[in-house]
């Protein structure tokens, strides 16, 4: 059963990823991204990280991709990139080689280090019939005791990000007087 789930989810993930990278229309790419995110969420669930799966769907697929779509609409839906040409000749072959090399290296590392990955943590509370919220409880305990400072800092980060973006993306009053300098 798990194998079936894994295969389906993996297919979703890879298909979505390839869609993002290969589609010229940005809207199609965004939708492929949603497919990938869903696949990742499924994988989270199959590894008993339910809270994260929920957060992934809500935040990533629900907010971030929507934001992307807003911007696509703002800048023109039909602006499709011309995938035929490549101004920097070496870029494509170089990218393929580099990423293949990267993946190969990572896979080698993973396979090499398989045996050294032993249980060494404090244990993972999984949702069973007894306690449905075991996972979220454990995460909450971890965040609010060990990482509470980081948590507070991220809240500051969010505020800074929002304020900064509002300032950045503001339209200037006298845009006609500005020469072709952007931003």
């Amino acid at each position: 059963m798990e194998l079936f789930v894994f295969v389906c989810a993996a297919a979703m993930v890879i298909a979505g990823a390839l869609g993002v990278v290969l589609r010229s229309n940005p809207v199609h790419a965004a939708l492929s991204l949603v497919l990938t995110l869903f696949g990742i969420a499924v994988m989270f669930i199959s590894q008993q990280a339910e809270f994260l799966a929920a957060v992934q769907v809500v935040v990533y697929a629900g907010a971030i991709v929507v934001l992307f779509l807003f911007v696509i609409m703002l800048l023109g839906v039909d602006r499709a990139e011309n995938l035929e040409t490549e101004s920097l000749g070496i870029q494509r072959p170089l990218a393929v080689i580099l990423s293949l090399g990267f993946v190969a290296l990572l896979v080698t590392t993973i396979l090499q280090g398989r045996d050294s990955l032993n249980m060494r943590g404090d244990g993972l509370s999984t949702a069973d019939s007894g306690d449905h919220d075991a996972n979220i409880r454990q995460i909450a305990r971890s965040i609010f005791s060990n990482y509470v400072v980081a948590f507070e800092v991220t809240s500051v980060l969010l505020i800074v990000a929002v304020v900064g973006t509002v300032v950045l993306a503001r339209k200037r009053k006298s845009e006609k007087e500005l020469t072709g300098v952007s931003g």
Binding site: T36, Q48, L52, V71, L75, R79, S99, I110, A169
Partner: protein, 105 residues
């Protein structure tokens, strides 16, 4: 027979690596800044997947906590990044990252 094969963490890790590679290709090859951003999101997701897989393998909750924070930071980063893209690309007809080569040496 197939039912006896259980996907181990290693499978997830390898999938994460592949996803990361695909994302990397996207960043290097695509010229549309939005698509580049989405490729970066792919890479971040690959990292999240890796974290969770290792968290399961090592039975340590800290992996999932890390994913939590990665998610938050990714959100913030997307917000700022898209704001910048909007600010720069607002008045262009053809958006391409290659046009931003004013810092050419």
């Amino acid at each position: 027979m197939l039912a006896t094969i259980v996907p181990t963490s290693t499978w997830y890790l390898i999938l994460g690596a592949v996803l990361f590679g695909i994302g990397m290709v996207g960043v290097l090859v695509r010229r549309n800044p939005l698509i580049m951003f989405m490729s970066i999101e792919l890479m971040l997701n690959a990292v999240n997947l890796t974290f969770v897989a290792l968290s399961t393998q090592l039975t340590d909750i800290n992996g999932q906590t890390a994913v939590f924070f990665v998610l938050v930071v990714a959100a913030a980063e997307v917000v700022v990044g898209l704001g910048i893209i909007v600010a720069i690309m607002r008045r262009r007809s053809e958006i391409s990252v290659d046009d931003l080569s004013a810092l050419k040496g």
